[in-house]
Amino acid sequence: MSLWEFANPARFMRISGAALPWVAGLAAVILPAGLAWGFFLTPDDYRQGSTVKIIFVHVPAAMMAINIYGMIVVASLIWLIRRHHVSALAARAAAPIGATMTVIALLTGALWGQPMWGTAWAWDPRLTSFFILFLFYVGYIALWAAIEDPDKAADLTSVLAMVGSVFAVLSRYAVNFWSQGLHQGATLSIDRDQNIDPVFWLPLLACIAGFFLLFLALLLVGTRTEIRARRARALQLAMAG
């Protein structure tokens, strides 16, 4: 099956309708299990004490915030190049989920930073670029809502998404570009021999999987809603005309 088959709204509705209960069910099991594992069954860190448990919500939310923006950029490019409506509507549906993940990452980061850094906020390169990423999410959602013609809205929001992609990249790599600020480097890396201790790493992987499945389930719900809303608008226009 080719990826482009999803570009047909009727086929997307059929396939996503069959997949949704499984994805949502997996998310409903894995996310609470991962969070409970991290909260109840991990020890305190020798230096950070019990605040290390915040990693299980902060890191997955931050990863999702950045990667969802990446998905929006890719879907926007597909819209601009191939004019597939489902990709534009999927990008629109992903934005509120990404914005929520950004808020979670910012707030849990502040709650973690206060006892560990002595401040909830600093104009550190990573924190600042993450905050700007949140503003791009808000602007993107507002722009979709402000323009009545859906194709024009998809065009303009796609351009906005491209501009904001700079901050999505910066929020991930800012600590590498500028060796200053309070935020540490990446917690997990596939090209490193040693990551954090498995006692934290394994529940963290479970939480990342749970957050990803939650995103996938909500993205399917949101995209299906956007497709229905688009059809409802077309029917309203046809009946009015």
Binding site: L35, K53, P96, I104, L107, T108, T225
Partner: protein
């Protein structure tokens, strides 16, 4: 319940914020999905009536 020591407020706050934000997002998406589906069903009924 694990002993969170002096950081109980920060840790419980972080989990509370996360669960509240996710619950709010899920509720908003599900309610909107239901409203749009109802609206579309009504419009399609109306169109069938006017066609038939």
């Amino acid at each position: 319940m694990p002993d969170l020591g002096p950081y109980a407020t920060a840790v419980l706050g972080a989990y509370g914020v996360t669960i509240a934000a996710i619950a709010g997002l899920v509720a908003w998406l599900v309610l909107r999905a239901r409203r749009v589906r109802r609206e579309l069903a009504g419009l399609e009924r109306g169109r069938r009536r006017s066609d038939g």
